[in-house]
């Protein structure tokens, strides 16, 4: 059943010049139930979107418009693909106009306001909106998201770590939750489209490094959600690394299996947990994931390893950081919020090679 323009969801995007913005445009311009209504950029007011992003030539006719001129209040939903702090300044007004909000930045991810303020160095502008906001990790809270008016779309690292560990935490931890290690690797688009020296081709290419070891903003986000899954605090070491590739995220998770859980069939546990999740693919026993197997798709793939059948569990997770780790997940949230099929507009096959 094709949707008519009349029946389509009216979508606005605030701050569409970054990578999550152009990725939203790519996905939404191919979405069968969406009408792109407005896209804002203060700086690029008037510039056709397809001039900045030539892949959209002939596919997206919109021009960027200044936020004050954009008809956002007439939209059904507005995505914020902006720096932290923008969504929370506008959310209340949009909600009052009946517009739903999906923020791809961090304004509605952390429930604990002091933690938010410590890591993002700004006060939270609307604690009441935050109160009702739902953490948009579909596979963990389909019901909550379906009813939500405001979504805090998860960070890219948290998506991989949480989906990689949920099966061994839900319903009673099977692992030592005081000492979890997440050794994570991200492609360079994870750093956004801002001009900075350390992400220049000449700096990031043919190179590998760790960063943020002393503290990364996704750390408290992961910890808060892991604690929710665990029913209590967890100890997490989180080391992000930068990989010379455009898209892709790979997380290697290490956890010690509890003595009582040594008999668990972890492969079966993971397969059962995600049997009904169209975007989570648990690989067969022994298989290893690679990031390109999900390039430009919303699929996240997981492999479970237990060397020598010992007490060390290794979970390997891959996703495209711009799709399942950002814009694809945001569209998946939108689909749920509007009662559409969860996979609508998200069924592209990954690009390999």
């Amino acid at each position: 059943m094709a949707s008519t323009p009349q029946s389509r969801i009216k979508v606005g995007i605030v701050g569409g010049t970054g990578y999550t913005g152009v990725e939203l445009l790519r996905l939404l311009s191919q979405h069968p139930h969406v009408e792109l209504t407005a896209i804002t950029s203060r700086k690029e007011d008037g510039m056709p979107v397809a001039e900045m992003y030539p892949n959209l030539r002939g596919r997206v006719d919109l021009a960027f418009s200044s936020p004050d001129k954009a008809p956002l209040s007439g939209c059904d939903v507005v995505f914020f693909a902006t720096p932290h702090g923008v969504a929370m300044a506008q959310a209340r007004e949009l909600l009052d106009a009946g517009v739903r909000v999906i923020d791809l930045a961090a304004d509605f991810r952390l429930k604990d306001i002091p933690t938010f303020q410590k890591w993002y160095k700004i006060d939270h502008a609307c604690p009441d909106v935050l109160e009702e906001a739902v953490y948009g990790l579909v596979e963990l809270d389909r019901a909550g998201i379906s009813r939500a008016r405001v979504i805090g779309n998860p960070g890219c690292y948290p998506t991989t770590v949480l989906l990689g560990l949920a099966p061994v935490l839900e319903g009673g931890a099977r692992i030592d939750t005081r000492h979890i290690i997440a050794d994570c690797k991200s492609g360079v688009t994870g750093a956004g489209r801002k001009a900075e020296v350390h992400t220049l081709f000449s700096e990031a290419s043919d190179n590998f490094k760790a960063y943020g070891v002393a503290g990364h903003r996704h750390h408290p986000e992961i910890s808060e959600q892991l604690a929710r899954l665990n029913g209590g605090p967890v100890g997490l070491v989180f080391v992000p690394h930068l990989v010379p590739m455009i898209r892709g995220m790979f997380s290697t998770l290490y956890a010690r299996i509890l003595p009582d859980a040594m008999d668990t069939d972890f492969q079966a546990l993971f397969e059962a947990r995600y049997a009904n999740d169209p975007f989570v693919d648990v690989l067969p026993a022994g298989a290893l994931p690679e990031t390109r197997s999900v390039r430009a798709s919303n699929t996240l793939r997981i492999a479970v390893q237990r060397p020598g059948n010992g007490d060390q569990l290794i979970v390997l997770v891959v996703q495209d950081n711009l799709v399942k780790g950002a814009s694809g997940q945001a569209v998946q949230n939108m689909n749920l919020m509007f009662g559409l099929p969860e996979t609508a507009g998200l069924d592209q096959v990954a690009i390999l090679p």
Copy 2:
């Protein structure tokens, strides 16, 4: 209008383990009017396609089958994603069974048999089939392709050079046809998926080189087609280069404008020529193309430059060598041959970044 499985075109692929094969699978598995029926590989008989190409997990259920077991004669069309020489050995039998044939290798590209034998070092197995075969460059011969039973799908380099020069050759040459220069650059997938030292990551990465200067098989193919467009032989210098990128082809074409043609508005000429071609995008005056603007899409983009309004015309052409340069073009040919919309299954937006 969704097509029912009953009404779908039954498609077979011979030799699906290479890059043009997996790209055909990616495109055809998302094609609304196609039913994938068989995919052959002598070596991988029995292996599920999705095991070799994990991007297809959950999307393609077929397994490779040995050619002798595959139900190719029951297909409507068979694609050959094989080395040169395979299609011509099987084409006659398939045609007799009413199956149409699209060869992605060179068996049906060159009309001149001595030239074929000189460059490919093999006799041609079926001159009569070659006689009726149509060169599958849609934008140059939509009518012929629509009626064809056998298609020689163009090489990747020829596609860019021919579409880049057709507007200045058709209807009387506007350029000096004795001295055309094609300085072409290809991503590494152009070399295929064969294990060879010179295309190893450690050899091809962070490196740039020319190759085949003394002679490349696409040279006679381009020359033959240019001569057809020109109504007589042309002089062509063709230098291919290898770029450290996965997909993408960039051709910089240099031609001297004839004195009589100095008043031509080349920008307008190109725009008019391709106004009705959904997969050819002539960029605005002054714009320059980049390969990523067509990554994983069937679009080919062209820019026309004339520095200082002098007598030197520069045409810059980009395409994805695996899509418009190979598998996408093959599907475009199939669409025409079966009366489907030319863009069916080919409307994905390019992946950027």
Copy 3:
């Protein structure tokens, strides 16, 4: 013979934070006859060089110092690794103090002042110094450079085009000089270390594009020098492209052989021309160069091709844009200016793979 610190040349570097700066530091810190005396950076005053460039840890003890504090007038030679316009503001004062000057930017490259002002949008601050300045392409003017007090170190593109064409221009042109084509390709370090969006890893990786087709600053520089070699103006089409690699430059030069010169043995001509140039390597007939064969070395390699023994000459030239195309050539100039062996400090073997 090892040089004692007392006998070493005292070297200063102005603006050492960019890529030509760190490359000068790498080369000069290993140079047997050099003592690094000062390196300036207004912005990084006080920061140890090895903190910004960890490859220099334990090898360079200097810290950046503010230009006004740096003991430049006590140096024997000062390199300017600065943006255009800086060297010409300071050259006169340094010369008066007996310091020689090597500018890696464009202040002393173009002899024609109106051309300089047109392309660099600034007035020339010291036409008299420019008057005496020598264009520092060693292989073309060893005698002039030996006597020079001021060197305009050539641009990276010009180095390849000029050395690629000198043998067929010197002593009477053997090619049609009205229609020379230089299709050039550069690694991303050619754009410098400035934070800009188009050179981000996420923009420049897995991509290929042309740029500056409508006009590039190296164009007038090449033209002026070609005219000098030719004894009269030449017609040049110059199209630079950006390659996703860190270092390396590849120039494909196309020229029409004059009727009178059709009997020339071009391979022999090139070999003879560069027989005594330690940094120019003419490859054997039939060989093709690749950029990695000169990575991190001061060697430039040239191959000469003439397809079908026809009238089209193709010259292929590779260099490391940061070494022979910039800092290595600057050190080579210094060696000549101070009577040192031309290869002193420049004999590292290229890094392959």
Copy 4:
């Protein structure tokens, strides 16, 4: 003091066509005390080395020679840059002729013969030679290496893990040795120069994956040496990953600090341990290493992190896998064995960018 040809060490290389071979050639051709005498390759007999490796043009005049023709017994030392199993077949004869042997493969790394046979699937050909062989990790056994006739040059991964953990194991473990995690990442040259599909540019570029999780040959090597350092067995989880870069290795090591060792100043401990090792650089507190900081150099850099001053120690180690991880370390061993300065021929500054 320059060495005369007469006084130079005569060096042979067996199997010089791979990456460790060409890297040995690069280093040894610039070594002041070495005379390259022979390089063997059964397959390339007669081919000039510089034809296969154009970076060596003008620097290495040798041609490959068939092993039976090469004057290996007249060498002072022979390096084996061969697959596993070659060195042990020839070592006895060379030793009897007074030639010292440095094997870059695994024949003399593992002291435990059953372990060797289990992982390499071949019998050990000379247990007596293995008995006297010394594990060539200079920083752990300078005395032993100085006296050795046969060296088992360490694997690339083991070098990083062992140097990263030695300071907390020597003299009594400060960490829980039952649960050490080594999350390691390697550039693609680590896989050698063999033509294989999974290391093609089109497969390995823009991609990240783990491999060998179920078992990697460097695992028993690391375990054996860790046990030696620890004075007893250790529990190690080792997960290698493949990074789309040419050279470089990054190991992230996780260990739990023992209660008794919580007061240790780990930064000071590491700095003191390596104060006299010219090729180990302990970064300042808070700094993070990147692989390019050691590209093409023999330096290994280490950073020590302890987030929140808790019980989790993180050690980050970088090296160039072809230099300190293979050929550079082999030359370092040679220097010790022949009483040369440890840094002779190994003082090149790393290439950055």
